[in-house]
């Protein structure tokens, strides 16, 4: 790397150079003496676990925070970045993980916001329309300029964010977890865009926890751990295993070691299940599937294709029509005689997709959260009126120990735990009830690599104990490595079933996009 074909004499200066950046929030040292050089016209990856300090570092670069110490050089020039405006002036564009778009504005309005030409909007809108057209041609960045943001899919919204940065003439583009919400096809398109940008001499910093993407697209990669930059490597000379080890600080099993499944009797049978939501939109359009004891059925699909509704209707949170049998007995779907409570009584445990809203009560303490949903259990009562709080606390402490929740303090509010540890609390609650069927949605969303390994192992243990597991995840890698069978959902229907050994991401990706050669 280094001056590979960059514009003449300026190739020597790095596009971005950070020297000794430190930043503390109270007692927490988020960034400690970080140095980084990114050459122009390259794609540089930054990996690290949640809380490793990646976002803080990028926020400093984008003027959200002021570093306590250290300096920033842009194109060899020392640059102060006190606010976002300064970052934009320095040619830095940022594509946030959570898009910063005004939902009820058009694409054009979003693009010009903050860089209008004058007091009246008309000339700015006309100019932006022209610029967007040429950007679309140059970089495969097609978006309808008059579409409202709220009507666009996530892939399109992301393009708008990239367009915003380019319209502000950014030379350095920072992308934070850009593929988290994209289909494989959309991600491929994004990578093509990034490669186009790179060939035009733009510098790209890609923050991600997906090592596969780092390997596929970056030229160089830096690893962050506990606020420090632990290594900067050339991508061609490293491996996912090495990066994972650098991130976590110990050896990590990226491939899940699992025994072949020994499926038994059928636990869950679903026939022609339909769900219509409050707006009258049919979200499940006749889903049929079954899960046997001792196997994991993985449901793959792009978010929003009915997987959430499938979990919710099975978990008793919303009504539906059709037939669902658990251990051969039909369960009520009308919602009149059924809820989460009655589902749990039938041996169905549910780890919901959104743990912060549905899995936990964030301001409540861990020990309370560990019994929610089961708190009517006589084992938790002292007498007819009072709960046995001391007993529950003791129990919670044991469970947290077994599930490696850190810190193992049952008196801490749920919101004070990291994402991975919150998930472990939910899993401890649901798995330790020894259910016949575990419904689990996005078990590792926002969870660190180290904790992912643990969570996967616990779900596999449950399977090996002869229980049925229905796993919903938008992470294809997770579906492929965990499942014994894979069903792909698209637009409220099952597109087909595959065995993990006999399919690949390509085929599943096509099915997730609604293209299906063979019907199931």
């Amino acid at each position: 790397m280094g001056g590979d074909g960059q514009t003449g004499g300026r190739a020597a200066a790095p596009a971005i150079e950070l020297k000794g950046i430190s930043k503390a929030f109270g007692p927490v040292q988020a960034n400690r003496d970080i140095s980084l050089r990114v050459m122009p016209g390259t794609i540089h990856g930054i990996v690290g676990e949640n809380g490793a300090g990646k976002s803080t570092l990028m926020s400093i670069l984008y003027g959200f925070y002021k570093a306590d110490a250290g300096e920033i050089l842009i194109g060899g020039q020392r640059t102060q970045i006190p606010d976002s405006q300064a970052a934009i002036r320095a040619g830095i564009g940022m594509v946030f993980q959570h898009f910063k778009l005004v939902e009820n504005f058009t694409v054009l309005e979003n693009v010009i916001l903050g860089v209008e030409e004058g007091r009246l909007l008309k000339p700015s809108l006309a100019k932006a329309r022209g610029v967007l057209k040429s950007l679309a041609e140059d970089y495969e960045l097609n978006v309808d300029p008059d579409a409202l943001i709220e009507e666009l899919g996530v892939g399109m919204k992301q393009r708008v964010e990239i367009l915003k940065a380019l319209y502000r003439q950014a030379d350095i583009l920072i992308l934070d977890e850009p593929t988290g919400v994209l289909t494989p096809a959309e991600a491929d398109h994004l990578f093509r865009i990034l490669k186009n940008l790179k060939s035009e001499g733009k510098t790209i910093i890609l923050i991600t926890h997906k090592l596969r993407e780092i390997m596929a697209i970056t030229d160089t990669v830096s690893v962050m751990r506990r606020g420090q930059m632990t290594a900067t490597l050339e991508t061609a000379q490293t491996s996912p295993e090495e990066l994972a080890e650098l991130m976590v600080g110990r050896k990590v099993l990226l491939r899940i070691d699992k025994k072949p499944a020994t499926p038994g009797r059928t636990v869950l049978e679903v026939e022609n299940l339909r769900v219509t939501d409050e707006d009258g939109v049919e979200r499940l359009k006749g889903v049929s599937l079954n899960v046997r004891a001792g196997e994991i059925l993985g449901i793959a699909g792009v978010a929003g294709n009915g997987q959430s509704q499938l979990l919710e209707v099975l978990g008793g949170m919303i009504p539906g029509t059709g037939t669902v049998r658990i251990n051969g007995d039909a369960i009520d779907l009308t919602g009149r005689h059924s809820d989460g409570q009655s589902r749990r009584a039938r041996g169905i445990a549910h780890v919901p997709e959104d743990r912060q809203r549905e899995g936990l009560i964030m301001p409540f303490m861990a020990w309370e959260n560990v019994v929610f949903g089961y708190h009517h259990d006589p084992a938790y009562q002292k007498n007819r009126a009072l709960m046995d709080n001391a007993g529950i606390r003791r129990l919670a402490e044991e469970k947290m120990e077994r599930f490696d929740v850190r810190p193992p303090n049952p008196g801490l509010a749920a919101r004070n735990f990291s994402g991975g540890n919150q998930q472990k609390i939910v899993l401890a609650r649901e798995i330790e009830r020894n259910p016949d069927l575990l419904l689990v949605g996005q078990p590792t969303r926002g969870v660190d690599i180290g904790a992912i390994e643990f969570i996967h192992q616990r779900i596999l243990d449950l399977r090996d104990a002869g229980k049925a597991v229905l796993l919903v995840s938008v992470e294809l890698e997770e579906i492929l490595s965990m499942s014994d069978r894979i069903a792909v959902m698209f637009d409220g229907r099952i597109m087909g079933e595959r065995l993990p050994g006999e399919t690949d991401e390509m085929e599943l990706g096509l099915m997730m996009a609604g293209m299906n050669g063979k019907a199931a």
Binding site: V102, F105, L113
Partner: protein, 321 residues
């Protein structure tokens, strides 16, 4: 009901709708920028008192208007400080402002004028007087249009014309200018504005200041045009009615005009027809007087379809890590 009566009711509708319209547009600016403001009532009341008091002492309605605007902006500033700078709860701040205004106006009025919490009655140049538009007299004999022009369109006070002119201006400002784009952005997605390098705080303060000016004019109109002086609690819930009209109008200027005219009409009808005889059953005056408020409750209870407020409304903006 003859034509002249209809004109009289409509004329009274226009006058009664004016303070509602001004307050509604004030709320529109504030809420479009993401600052909920239930303190419209308090700001109007404050402005009503200070405008009447100043006009009474100086004899100039214009100085009164100025005092009304300034006093309303002081309260708007407090609301801004509480909800933007200190990121407090906007509802609590608004309620506090309403209480403050309700109490302070009477206490100060008693201290200054010793007339039981009123200001002296305003006369002559201490009030806004009706202005006659050009040719109103000449055109009066023309059938239909003549009386409409003479009785309905002409003969109002300046704040009335100002309020109605504010409707297209507000629309233009919000949807055709850079300021409007940023104001709407800050109410829907302050983080988008922030990352675009525009100050969320400054934009929101600007909106709150405009809200203060318009509430000030609304209050001054109440005390120096609609009536001749300040009396205790003279806003009589108009700030809340304006809020209901704002929801009814789905935070849009032209709809705000229709909504406030509807409320104004109800008030005008209640004023004119104190007891309505419906084939033997006499509807008592209290029912008529309560009509605008009943409609307010109905609207606030959400019987008018889905009104989607600005997405970031009511939430203080905190930069996330």
């Amino acid at each position: 009901m003859d034509f002249a009566t209809i004109l009289q009711v409509l004329d009274s509708t226009v006058r009664l709708a004016t303070p509602l319209l001004l307050a509604c547009l004030a709320g529109l600016f504030s809420e479009r920028a993401g600052i909920f403001d239930i303190g419209l009532e308090g700001k109007m009341l404050f402005a009503a008192f200070f405008s009447a008091a100043t006009a009474a002492v100086t004899g100039s309605v214009w100085l009164g208007l100025l005092a009304g605007i300034v006093s309303s902006m002081v309260l708007a500033g407090i609301h801004g400080l509480a909800s933007i700078t200190f990121r407090g709860n906007q509802l609590i701040s608004g309620v506090a402002i309403n209480f403050l205004a309700a109490g302070l106006t009477v206490v100060i009025a008693q201290d200054w004028f010793s007339q039981g919490g009123r200001t002296p009655s305003l006369l002559g140049g201490a009030r806004f007087n009706p202005i006659t538009l050009p040719f109103a007299e000449t055109l009066q004999p023309v059938p239909i249009l003549g009386p409409v022009y003479h009785d309905l369109i002409s003969g109002h006070t300046i704040p009335v014309y100002f309020a109605f002119a504010m409707v297209p201006f507000t629309w233009w400002l919000l949807f055709r200018t850079r300021f409007g784009l940023r104001l709407r952005a800050v109410g829907d997605s302050p983080e988008a504005l922030d990352t675009a390098g525009v100050s969320v705080v400054a934009t929101r303060y600007a909106a709150v200041a405009i809200c203060g000016v318009l509430c000030g004019i609304a209050g001054a109109y109440l005390a120096t045009a609609l009536q001749a002086g300040f009396v205790k609690d003279m806003t009589a819930g108009r700030g809340y009615i304006a809020l209901a009209a704002l929801i009814f109008a789905k935070w849009r200027p032209w709809y705000a005009l229709s909504a406030t005219l509807l409320f104004g009409l109800l008030q005008a009808v209640a004023l004119r027809y104190q007891n309505i005889d419906l084939g033997g059953i006499v509807v008592p005056v209290q029912v008529m007087d309560a009509l605008p408020y009943i409609l307010t409750v109905v609207i606030l209870a959400g019987f008018v379809g889905r009104a989607i407020p600005p997405r970031a409304g009511g939430e203080p903006y905190v930069k996330e890590r």
